[in-house]
């Protein structure tokens, strides 16, 4: 009886987590919206070493620690991270590359953010 209760608890926990994560995902688009980029500075870096969505969140956590960074969205499919700066903030390339390395990935070249081109 006790074992069945433990199994039931485990299954319940998995289903609750799945529904909450799927729901959160809809409100969290990969790239920064056009509206957001009109007043902020956006930079984009190639990043090598990411191979799953879990790598994305690890890299985003590191990059968001930089003073002056408002948001960061990484994509293992695109092999890049898009970094949104706070208005007026400047962040050195060395600092960004250091954070990418702390996430155990390798920074590539700085590329133009897709949304900047619009």
């Amino acid at each position: 009886m006790k074992n069945k209760a433990l199994l039931l608890l485990f299954a319940l926990m998995m289903s609750v987590t799945a529904s909450s994560v799927f729901a959160a995902n809809k409100e969290n688009p990969l790239l920064i919206s056009k509206k957001d980029t009109t007043q902020t500075n956006v930079v984009c870096y190639e990043v090598f070493g990411m191979d799953c969505p879990g790598c994305q969140s690890a890299l985003e956590k590191q990059v968001k620690k930089i003073d002056g960074v408002a948001d960061a969205k990484a994509s293992f499919k695109e092999k890049q991270v898009v970094i949104e700066m706070k208005p007026g903030a400047t962040v050195s390339e060395e600092e960004i590359e250091k954070r990418i390395k702390k996430a155990n990935f390798t920074p590539g070249k700085k590329i133009k953010a897709a949304k900047d081109e619009e």
Binding site: N3, L6, V21, P53, Q56, K61, Q62, K77, A103
Partner: protein
Amino acid sequence: MLLAVLLSAAFQTKAEGISVDAGLTPAQDRIIVRLQYRNILNQMGSNDMVMHMMPVVVVYGLSSDVTVMLRNVYRAVGTNETMMEMDNRFMDPFLMGKVKLYRHNARTYTVGVAGFAGTTFPVLNNSLSKTYSPVVGVNASYRPGLWAFDLNNAYEWINYNTEENQSAARQLQVNLAVSRNIILPGIDNWILSPVQEFSFVRDNPAAGESSSFGFISPGFQLVSPHVKFETLYQIPINSSKTALDYGGRLILGLRFMF
């Protein structure tokens, strides 16, 4: 005593089983919480023994090169038709450190090698014996594109008794996991990853004959940026030649990544 050692080895719930981060160390300050449920069926003669193991693992990236891991397991006894006295309890905690030895991230692949060392600690009142089970190993990972090849190698001294200066058994484990990420259309940031694992275990008890057995384990993972679901079914190979006949093992897992 031999039986106790066999049982101890049989109920280990180590990193093998969906061990996809083998040779790679996580990012600095990364926190990973891993919950698992393992249904383990063993037979001793014609007597069944069903165990429910629930390991909880907490991983923290001290730096990009060094990771620490703490694991504890709750064991619930299902069916026990043997003469062994088994109770529901927490097993000894296990502490492990993993160090990055090599990593190269290229545009089309990633290669990583990491070494690790850890041990159980007999800190609980219900520890059967005041022994340690130290383990050392080297893991390697090769990730070309959407594929992943992870090789885990570990050598363990099971129930090492510090007073007697010897372990009850030594065990070599080799585990290869092959998986491929499948990008799910219409669902951003989620991937499905079928996994096939091959495990080889060589038992060398202090007394009695050595034996080898293994598992062939198909499974899959569903991965998002912060949550990973894992399931694996371990099919035993050659275990009937060991004193304890291992049956199939179902593993269900949930991993949170912060």
